[in-house]
Symmetry: C2
Subunit: 238 residues, 2 copies
DNA sequence: CGAAGTATTGACCCATTTCAAAGCATGTGG
DNA sequence: CCACATGCTTTGAAATGGGTCAATACTTCG
């Protein structure tokens, strides 16, 4: 089954096997996309939403000088732009980080699902609300934390989410992001991210090398990050 | 009709008169709440969602030292915590800014609405997605703009949203927020907000005095803010 | 091997914070 | 109606976190 991870990182609401089947049948196509490719452009009319099967994608907005601000990072199981279904066009771009495999759903398929399965609809709605909750946490992260906290928080969040889909264990996971990427996700410069990573390394909290994250002291890292995972609804880690 | 502003700031989807009636009938009670009162506490189980009829409320999260970060400001017509319906508990607090009038909807009422009116459900879903779009814009605001841009952006956004519900005209509107409140919404200190407001005043872009905002040069202000209102879906101002 | 992206480091600069103090409203209880 | 408390606004001076600029290494890959 293609959809083993469907919404798996999406907390409280497990899908019933009927619901999984409905979604599985709704897949219009499965595609591979190489790394660093734009998938959706802000403002375009869209009639398809994509579920991420393998790999990582990000959503971002550009400032006037073309500098990116990431607004979300997605992991396998996430319905990346389900919100395009009610919204029809997006206010941001979407691009792959590493190479990915995605499943495409046409909006008319989703339309008929929402008309026939209100219970599943509510789970889909919930999934988009979880994205909003993560957005809020990012607002907090950028508004109230210093550079170390911001980076630490990002790594804590990804650790939690990847654990939920079985892609992280013991604080170790692969993440195809560069230091400038981390900067774009954290409202910092690449140079400063480098210094922050060194500081975290020297405190024996975490290493990040060649796309591999290794959290050495989760408790201390979470303290620096003021990380409290309730906002992920359903994550059961410490 | 109590609900004249229902989702009015919520863009593209005008409600049909039948839908307005369904919502109107769903109101369980209407309450007045004084200024600076907490309405919802993070983590509590909720069985009611509130629609804002008059006044302003904010949503926020506390950091470890109890400092607030606002994650949203709501204006009349907004369904403040509709997301509590699918989510059941919230990851943030909600409080009034000035005195407000709110309408309460029990979740079992909303449940039956979603089962009977898929089309209306989609509009409600859309409304929560608009909040997410505003969250994303705030992430951008905090991550990529300096202090002047952040404050300018906030005033531009509120101007646009209040215009949509007929509460702003010619760049003038009332806003029951203090300078420390603006700081909490912008990831700044109160002291610095004061200096930024002076700078904006001295550039003849905007005045803010005694809760009254007066945008003097909207175009220049929007430039400072890098404000592009597409993310509000349906705002037709410049 | 060379090219291009990525990581690292140093020195200097500036935006914003922090700390401190004073001035203004506003409201409350005596 | 005054006295005092409380919270908001304003300003100054000093400290600092993070940015900018610039140069050098390290990878990876064609």
């Amino acid at each position: 089954m293609i959809s083993e991870k469907f919404l798996m990182g999406r907390g409280r609401h497990e899908l019933s096997s009927e619901e999984k089947q409905v979604l599985e049948d709704g897949i219009e196509s499965v595609r591979q996309v190489p790394a660093r490719k734009q998938i959706v452009r802000a403002g375009d009319l869209i009639d398809t939403s994509t579920l991420l099967l393998e790999g990582f994608v990000c959503r971002y907005m550009d400032d006037r000088e073309g500098q990116r601000q990431l607004v979300a990072v997605h992991v396998p199981g996430d319905f990346v732009d389900l919100h395009a279904f009610p919204m029809k066009r997006l206010d941001h771009d979407i691009a792959t980080l590493g190479p990915v495999k995605i499943a495409c759903f046409e909006h008319r398929t989703l339309q008929s699902i929402t008309e026939r399965y209100p219970h599943l609809t509510q789970k889909l709605w919930f999934s988009t609300l979880l994205d909003a909750a993560m957005h809020r946490e990012w607002i907090f992260r950028l508004g109230r934390l210093g550079a170390e906290g911001r980076i630490a928080h990002l790594f804590c969040e990804l650790n939690a989410r990847l654990e939920m889909v079985g892609m992280a264990a013991d604080g170790r996971y692969m993440l195809p992001m560069t230091q400038p990427d981390l900067a774009e996700a954290s409202g910092l410069t690449g140079v400063h991210v480098n210094r922050v990573l060194r500081a975290l390394r020297e405190k024996n909290l975490l290493t990040f090398k060649a796309g591999e994250v290794n959290i050495l002291d989760h408790k201390a890292l979470a303290a620096v990050a003021e990380f409290e995972p309730q906002y992920l609804y359903g994550y059961r880690g410490d």
